[in-house]
Each structure stands twice: as C-alpha cells, then as structure tokens.
Amino acid sequence: MTDMNSAPKGYWQNMVVDWSADKEAFKVNWGKVMMWVFLVSDTFIFSLFLIGYMNVRISASEAWPLTSEVFALVVGGEHIPLLLIAIMTFILITSSGTMAMAVNTAYQGNKHATFWLMITTAVLGASFVGMQAYEWTKLIVEEGIRPWGNPLGAAQFGSTFFMITGFHGLHVTGGVIYLTIVAIKVRLGHYDKKGFQIVEITGLYWHFVDLVWVFIFAFFYLW
C-alpha cells in the first residue's frame, strides 16, 4: 500500500485511492446506502415495466385508446381531460414537500413537528391511493376496461395500465405503512439515541415513489 498513498497522481488513480481507502465507501450510515441500492434495484423494475409497456404498445395489433378521452372527468357537463390525474399528481408532489419538511425538523430534533409532518405525508399518500381506487373503479365499472380486454381498442391498454399503476399503488401503500410506523416510533422516542437518519431514509423511499409517478404520468397519460 505504501506505493499507493504517496505523491499526487492522475485524477483517476486518486479517485480509486480515495474511494478504496480505509473507511466507509460513502460518508453516510449503512441504512442510507442500503436504501439507495434498493432504490436503484427498484428503478430497474419500474424501467423494465415501462419499457415492456412501450414494447407492447408498439406491437399491439389494435388501436391504442385515446388517453385524453379515457382519463377525463366530467365536471358540470364539461369534459376535462386529465383532471383527476392532475389532482393526484399535485397531492403526491405536495406529500414530497411535507416529507422534506419532516426530514428537516427531525434533524433539528423537533419530534412533535416531525411526527405530524410524517402523518400528513402518510395521509396525502393514502388519499392518492384512494383516488387511484376511484379511478380504477371508474375504468372498470363505467368504461368496461379489463386487464384482458376493453371496448376502446388494444387489450394491452388495460393490461399495462392495471399492472403498472397497481404496482406503483402497492409501493405507495407500502410507503404509507412505513411512514406511519416510523412516525409513531419517532414519537415514542425510539430514535433518540440512534439519531434521526431513519426519517431521511424513509424520505428517500417516498421521494422515489413520487419520482416514479412522474415517469408513469408522462409515459402513460401524456403519450
């Protein structure tokens, strides 16, 4: 090792020396590293779902339904495209905001504010899932869309829609449960000694779920 630590070298070599040095590879606790690695792995899952969706959308033999028509709400006799989705997206992004505030207050040691901000985040997440349930019901009951077929065109529309939004919805549901548990444990003082990184780790997951939604929104509703 003597050779490696001496004298300035090229950037590349210095980077290797630095990164492989006698310390944690990343200057954060292991929980955060674990969450990051998991999120990268999860990114692969969602990316592959979306790529699979694009592929079957191209290979589908029937016409793809017009998304602006399918995802429209009738409010006061007016046909407003993407209204529900806009509200859902707004709610989810708002919840990311409250989550970020929770992380901030947690590091300030304000357990009371952290608890309530996390609960707010969870409630916003739950209302997102609730609206998704409403959207599914509307599509299934009113439009007659099923995973295996629909009256509007290509069967793959229903298949990919229910699969991908369902998988994302499961992530949000899991996140709501995760947030609630961590919030309660914060309030009970479980992390007083260990520190409040757990709030930030939970936040990482929540922001990820939010980010994934942006991609689903773009590829599914806007395309």
Binding site: M1, A21, D22, E24, A25, K27, W30, F38, S59, Q156
Partner: protein
C-alpha cells in the same frame, strides 16, 4: 476515520438463548449461511437425480417405462432451474456470501441481521413452492428453464396450468429473498469493513461476491417483471407475450403480444445470472489457488478490475442467446462484438491463475485439485463460448447438444468445481474438522474425469446436429449409430459421476462424526476469516476488539520472513525476519 455501527455495537448484538432462537430464527450470519447451504445442497441433489433420470431416457430410449415424454420435459426444466437458481445462486451468495463476508472484512455480523434472517426464510419458502409444483395437477412446468412463451402457458406443454404458476411464484419469492440478502452483502462490504481493510486489500472472494450481488440486484428485476407479466398472461388472460395464436386447433383469446419481449427480459436477467454464478467462483478459486500454492495471487489489481469489467459487460451481451429468435440482424453484430470483448478480462483471469501457480510451492490438497480442475473445465467451456458468440457459427449450433455441453462446462461444472474446492477449503473453519482427504481424492478424480467423459462427447454429437430437449431421437438418418452409442456412454458416465457425489455426502457425515479436530487454520491461510479468537467462530466473530488489518490477504512466502505467511492482522513491526536479512535492501514490496 469513522468506523460505524457494527464496530461499536457489540453490547447491542442480540445473543439468543433458546434453541429456536439460535438455530431456527437465527440472526447470526454463520447459522444463516449453513441453513442456506444445507437447503441448497438438498435441492441440488434433487436436481442431480432428475438429470440421471433424464440421461437414462436419452441413453437408452424405450427402455424405461416410467419416463414418458411429458415427464422428460418436466425433468429437464426443473433440473435446469434448480441448478442455476436454487443451488448455484443460493449456495454461492446465500451460503458462502453470508459466511465469508463478515469474517473476511472483519465485522461482527451483517449490517442488518434481521433482514438477513428473513432472506433465508423467503428462500426456504421459494424452495417449498418449487418442490410443491411436483405435486400439483399436471405436474411442474415442462417449458424448459427459459420458460419461453407462448409454449410455456399453452395447453400441450406439460404443467401449463398450475405448474408454470407455481414456478413463477417461486421465482418471485426467490427474488425477494435474494434482494434482502443482497442489500445486506453490499452494504456490509461498502460500509462496515474493519480498520485497515481498504477495498484493495479485500480478498478476491469478497470482490467476486460483491460484484455478483450488484449484478443480481440489477438483473433479477428483469426476471421479476417478466414473471409478473407471464403470471398475468397465464391467470388473467392478458396478452403481454402472447400473439394471436391457434392452439390445438382452436383460436385462443390472445392477441397482439410480443414473445420476443419475454426473451429480451429473460436474457437481460439470464446473462448476468451466468456471472452471478461465475464471479463468486472466480473470487473463491483465486483465494484457494493462492493459499495452496503458497504464493500471492498474480496481478491482484488486474483481477479486481477484470471482475468489475466482466460484471459491467455482462449487461450488454444478453441477446447473444437470441440469434435465432428472429430479432434484427444488426443486433446480432452488436451483441457478438460485446460478447467477444468479454473474453479479454476473462482471459486475463485465466492467465493470472496459471501465473499464480507458476513457480509456486503447489500443495496438491483436495481443494487445490478442485481449483486446478476448475481452470481446465473453465478454459474448455470458455473456448466453446467463442464459437457460440459468433452469429454465423451459432446459427447451426443453436439448440444442439453443443450448446448443452458448452454451458454445462462453463457455468455448471466450473462453478461446482469451485464450490467443492471451497467446501473442502473452508470446512475446517466452519466445523473445526478437515474433510477426509482420501475420500476427497476419490471424489475429485471421479468427478473431474467423469465430467470430461460426459461433456467431451456431447460437443461431438452437438456438431452432428443432435438437438437438445428431445425425448427420443427415433430413426433419424443424419444421426449415425455411433452417436447413439456415445449417448449411451454419456449416460453411464453420468450415473458414475452421480455415485461419486454420494462419496462426498458420505464424507461430510463421516468427518463430522468420526474425524478428530483439525489444527486451527490447517492451510496456513493469511486472510482474516481464519484468525478469529475461536474456531469455529462464535456469535459476534471477534473478541472484545475488532481486528485491525495491516496488509492484503496474499502475503505468502514473503522473502526473508520466517513463517511462510503473514496473516492480514499482523503489523509490520511484529513480522519476524530471518537473522541477517535486511528487508530494506532486498526490495520486498507488500500491498
């Protein structure tokens, strides 16, 4: 220098008191490793039996009434799936990964022991679901381990009803298990190494396991996604992978799906999977070769970079499994190029293994024999891979026994040779006893010569054009009688090799029951795992203080030093030199 978590957690480490807490719901990485290993070896034996039955049919068609065409296909499928995923992946990463990572990098346990425990139990559940599929109506799936749709879920393929559903469910559970374990391995290696254990001082075993785990975490999602989509195609009647198709004379309800999509997803997982199995094997064999040749590993840094580069490249070669699928031929050009590039880092590794042996003080112990055997089988398997990587040569050889021979040599026999080497090598650490050498020698020679008796002729009958996965060849004019005779020979060799494995199993039990305790660190290995206060290591691994690492893991036969190895935790000031030896002028360099 901030050393976190594990280092300071000793008082917090949860020591179980009851039998159940200690051995069933254990959170100790060593117990979990043994649980993983036993389960994997058990299903591996099931898969071995399946292959014997399969070979009986191929070698002596029409002789055995109890094998019908459906069963033959089911056995082929289950043999492949079990061997690749439930034996090799689980034993290399769940077994050896769990056991060796904390010991080799010097921690008390994985960073998240509870998750680690869950990982094993999910794996156990996936094995139960897999084995349960033998008992559902219609039996297990017979679609081949690649599970290609449309045939895997259409009537006519055995197990197209419940069988395939169970298979996909089991895979999904396995992936969950692997993810929980894998997150632990990666985080432990990155964040919890002990003082002095830099990344470039880690044994190559750890590098192999680390890179393979990353590959797994990024590749298994593709299998999960394709499994979910196929489950929906099968249960809900969606058409992700199913085009409009006529099955058994009737039009199905499917329309507009893409079977090629499945192949892309499957092989985006499937090719990295080859390296998920190979890279830990590469790492472990490097360590075994170095220890038993009493010489440092040749070109350590190149070995590390080769592992990392192979890992990276393995994500951009997947479609070389699909040259005959009807995809765009330009893809073939790209994937053939990347495939052949992988040969470069792989060849670096083979050269370095051979150069490690060069002028080494080679001890022909049982682990060493298996390790050297691996160099042979891997080189052979790798060279036939060059044939198959080229589109024009692959096209006629596709789906023949040449392919079967190739992948068995390169990712069946080779990792298993390393697994045996590793089991013989680390058994004294795990149990405190050395496996019986005479039985081990018999086991090695039977296995090594036997695999050649099986797979060399298989290349030849592959060149003749004998297709794989056929229940019986019948009277086919292009297959000469000699090929049938060879087939019978192969079957006899398989039976003999299978019997030799019983010697190994017997050896395990014999050694635990009858052999005396061996000396601590019987191979005089320098790496950290052999230098725990107790052998076998106790819960928590280290004494009151974690070890401090002062050197790499390969200080063997250092010139001028009295002992022929310097353990990793020995500081320079404690190394004893021969009298009169001036270490500053003779230019010794240690990393």
């Amino acid at each position: 220098m901030t050393h976190i978590a594990i280092a300071d957690q000793e008082p917090e480490l949860h020591h179980p008191r009851t039998f159940i807490g200690k051995y069933i719901w254990s959170q100790d990485h060593k117990v979990i490793a043994i649980q993983y290993a036993c389960t994997a070896i058990f299903v591996g034996l099931v898969a071995l039996m399946l292959s014997v039955v399969m070979r009986l049919q191929l070698g002596f068609p029409d002789q055995f009434d109890f094998i019908n065409p459906n069963m033959y296909l089911q056995f082929v499928t289950m043999h492949g799936m079990i061997m690749v995923i439930y034996l090799l992946t689980a034993l290399l990463l769940g077994g050896f990964g769990n056991y060796l990572i904390p010991l080799m990098v010097g921690t008390r346990d994985m960073v998240f022991p509870y998750l680690n425990m869950l990982s094993f139990w999910f794996y156990f559940l996936s094995v139960l679901v897999l084995l349960a599929s033998f008992f559902v109506p219609g039996g297990p799936t017979g679609a081949g381990w690649t599970l290609y749709p449309p045939q895997s879920i259409l009537e006519g393929t055995p197990g197209s009803g419940m069988g395939i559903v169970m298979m996909l469910a089991s895979l999904a559970i396995f992936i969950i298990a692997f993810t929980m374990g894998g997150l632990n391995y990666v985080s432990t290696i990155l964040q919890a190494r002990t003082r002095g254990m830099t990344l470039m001082r880690m044994p190559l075993t750890i590098w192999g396991i680390f890179t393979a785990t990353i590959l797994g975490l990024f590749a298994f999602p593709a299998l999960l996604v394709s499994a979910i989509m196929m489950l929906f195609d099968s249960i809900l009647g969606t058409s992700f992978f199913m085009p409009a198709i006529v099955s058994l004379g009737e039009a199905t309800d499917y329309e507009g799906g893409s079977p090629i999509l499945f192949q892309h997803l499957f092989w985006f997982f499937g090719h990295p999977e080859v390296y998920i199995v190979a890279l830990p094997a590469f790492g472990m064999v490097s360590d075994v070769l170095s220890v038993h040749a009493r010489k440092n590993i040749f070109g350590y840094r190149m070995m590390v970079w080769a592992i990392v580069i192979i890992g990276g490249l393995s994500f951009v070669v997947w479609a070389h499994h699909m040259y005959v699928s009807g995809m765009n031929p330009y893809f073939g050009f790209f994937f053939a190029t990347t495939t052949l590039i992988i040969a470069v880092p792989t060849a670096i590794k083979v050269y370095n293994w051979v150069l490690t042996l060069w002028q080494g003080n080679i001890h022909l112990t049982v682990p060493m024999l298996f390790a050297i055997g691996f160099i042979f089988t891997f080189t052979h398997g790798g060279l036939s891979g060059l044939f198959l990587g080229n589109v024009v040569i692959d096209l006629p050889l596709s789906d023949t026994f040449f392919v079967v021979a190739h992948f068995h040599m390169v990712m069946g026999v080779s990792p298993i040779m390393v697994l045996f080497a590793a089991i013989y090598h680390w058994f004294p650490l795990v149990t405190g006893k050395q496996l019986n050498t005479r039985l081990g020698m018999i086991h090695f020679w039977g296995t090594f010569i036997g695999t050649y008796a099986i797979y060399l002729p298989m290349h030849y009958i592959g060149f003749l054009g004998v297709p794989r996965r056929y229940y019986a060849l019948g009277d086919t004019s292009f297959i000469p009688d000699s090929a049938h005779a060879l087939n019978a020979n192969i079957t006899i060799a398989v039976i003999i090799v299978a019997l030799f494995q019983l010697i190994f199993i017997f050896n395990l039990f014999w050694t635990i029951k009858r052999e005396p305790k061996s000396r601590i660190n019987p191979w005089d290995a320098a790496s950290l795992e052999w230098h725990t206060p107790d052998v076998p290591p106790h819960h928590g691994n280290w004494g009151r203080e974690l070890p401090t690492v002062h050197r790499w893991a390969y200080d063997y036969s250092v010139p001028g030093v009295v002992k022929d190895f310097i353990p990793q935790h020995v500081p320079d000031s404690e190394v004893v030199y021969e009298p009169g030896y001036d270490r500053f002028t003779s230019g010794r360099e240690s990393t």
